[in-house]
């Protein structure tokens, strides 16, 4: 479980040298924390790869320890961390951690890559109408997101202003998912904080772009008895502000985390079954199983990016949908369910 967590240094591999000393190869990342004495920065190498709260770093009059990938600040006067029986620190508290952690490093990396890749694609259009090289790979993906995700879910008229967000989110999640499958072990989209930020951004967008009809349907549902309307309003509000973003953030987080855990468990077969199957047997079994599950994970990486973007587009589409022409009434005056309503039932 340790490996799917965020960490404060970029760890590549470890080995034990001839003197029996454990050596870690990688590079440290800056730690930036907001402590009780203000903003403090230092390199994560100060902790000397300690993750159990033993090494104490003193900066600006505050003492910091790293405990299970989290930075704690010791209470004033404390010299070392005391633990209660469930291994919680009793005389230290967590600090607001703005560090360039491995995840932040990954985000920066992917952000710079996307900026480079897509702005170079954009520049290509100045000289020629069909891009060449890497742009030729990116262009169909951009068109795919526009034509298969943005247009059908938001509608021909309004898709344009949301496509930028959807494209960014799609490529951001997809590239980070794929990066998570590399041996560098980035697990950015498997961090709740990251998926929460993405989901809340979608929430903000569809809340602020919702039109009169959207709020009308949410707060004072037309076509139902007046007494039931407050009830539906509560349900609709919960749906819009809690269930939708929660489903977005948990779906992505859980899928990616689960994928990582499964891959790591299968790789661990190499060590756990070494005794019963022999070195070759355990390694072979582990390689075959993890190879196939990694193939599935490559698919899941795309699928989750697609689903997140698709659902974001769908929620935005529901918020900006024009209702005035819809709801054909049949002879008795009942609403005839249209595509919009049927689609909403599936979410």
């Amino acid at each position: 479980m340790h490996h799917i967590k965020d960490s404060h240094d970029f760890h590549l591999f470890s080995y034990t040298n001839s003197e029996g000393e454990r050596k870690h190869v990688g590079f440290p990342l800056p730690v930036i924390v907001w402590s009780s004495n203000g903003l403090v920065t230092f390199m994560s190498s100060q902790f000397h790869h300690d993750d159990n709260g033993e090494v104490i770093v003193e900066r600006n009059g505050s003492k910091f320890v790293k405990l299970h990938s989290k930075i704690y600040e010791l209470e004033p006067g404390a010299i070392s961390v005391n633990f209660d029986e469930s291994q919680h620190a009793t005389n230290a508290h967590k600090v607001l951690d703005f560090s360039i952690t491995k995840s932040v490093f990954g985000i920066l990396l992917v952000g710079l890559f996307m900026l480079w890749a897509f702005s170079s694609l954009a520049r290509q259009y100045k000289n020629k109408s069909v891009p060449t090289g890497f742009g030729r790979v990116l262009e169909p993906l951009v068109i795919y997101v526009r034509d298969e995700i943005a247009k059908p879910n938001i509608g021909e008229k309004k898709y344009r202003q949301f496509t930028g967000y959807l494209l960014t989110v799609f490529f951001f999640i997809w590239i980070l998912n794929l990066l998570g499958l590399t041996p560098f072990g980035f697990n950015v989209t498997g961090q709740l904080a990251v998926t929460a930020a993405l989901a809340i951004l979608t929430l903000i967008i569809y809340t602020f772009s919702g039109n009169k009809d959207y709020w009308m349907h949410m707060l004072w549902m037309p076509g139902v008895p007046v007494l039931i309307r407050p009830v539906t309003a509560i349900i609709e509000l919960a749906g819009a502000f809690l269930i939708k973003p929660f489903s977005l953030l948990v779906r992505l987080f859980a899928n990616i985390s689960a994928g990582h855990i499964v891959v790591m468990s299968l790789i661990a077969i190499m060590f756990t079954l070494k005794d019963s199957l022999g070195v070759a047997g355990a390694t072979g079994l582990s390689l075959i199983l993890s190879f196939f599950i990694t193939l599935i994970e490559v698919l899941v990486a795309f699928l989750q990016a697609y689903i997140f973007t698709m659902l974001s587009a769908l929620f935005i589409g529901m918020a900006v949908a024009e209702h005035d022409h819809e709801h054909h009434h049949d002879a008795e005056g009942h609403d005839v369910p249209d595509a919009e309503d049927v689609r909403a039932d599936f979410i």
Binding site: D97, R123, T163, G164, V194, I200
Partner: protein
């Protein structure tokens, strides 16, 4: 659940939000807007080109149809002219035949009439001449017959004899 909440890092959340917003802003400004604009432009360009090609094709077909129609018309006209010429020719031949016949008939008739009248005149002339000749012959004969006394007596006797015989 507690582990999950414990794992949630507010700092990372804030950093991610800021970075994501920055990324969206920069990408929209430098990538998505120009890319989508170019794609739209290209697509409308392609659509226009296709429509233009379609129009040109339709125009071609129109021209072709026009040509065909004109050819057809010219052919029909030629046909009509030929037919008319043939008709005129036939009519002229028929007319002249008719006229010739009428003229011929008329001439024949005239000739016949002339012949008839000439014949009558000739016959009349002949008659008068014959009458004159006969009178002169009769005169000469009478003169001869009654030139002597005995001849006259003989004649009377002969005539008398003839009467007896009757």
């Amino acid at each position: 659940m507690e582990t999950l909440i414990n794992d949630f890092s507010p700092g990372l959340f804030i950093v991610q939000t800021i970075l994501l917003l920055g990324l969206i802003f920069l990408l929209v400004k430098f990538a998505w807007k120009p890319i989508l604009n170019s794609l739209n432009e290209r697509e409308t360009g392609i659509q226009e080109a296709l429509a233009a090609a379609e129009r040109a094709k339709a125009e071609m077909q129109n021209l072709q149809a026009d040509n065909d129609r004109m050819l057809q018309e010219a052919r029909a006209e030629r046909e009509a002219m030929l037919k008319e010429a043939r008709e005129i020719k036939d009519k002229m031949i028929a007319d002249s035949k008719e006229q010739a016949k009428v003229e011929g008939d008329k001439m024949i008739k005239q000739a016949q009439e002339t012949i008839e009248s000439e014949k009558k005149a000739a016959v009349a002339e002949l008659k008068s001449q014959v009458a004159e000749l006969s009178v002169s012959i009769a005169e000469k004969v009478l003169k001869e017959e009654l030139s002597g006394k005995d001849k006259q007596l003989k004649l009377v006797e002969k005539m008398l004899g003839d009467i007896k015989l009757n």
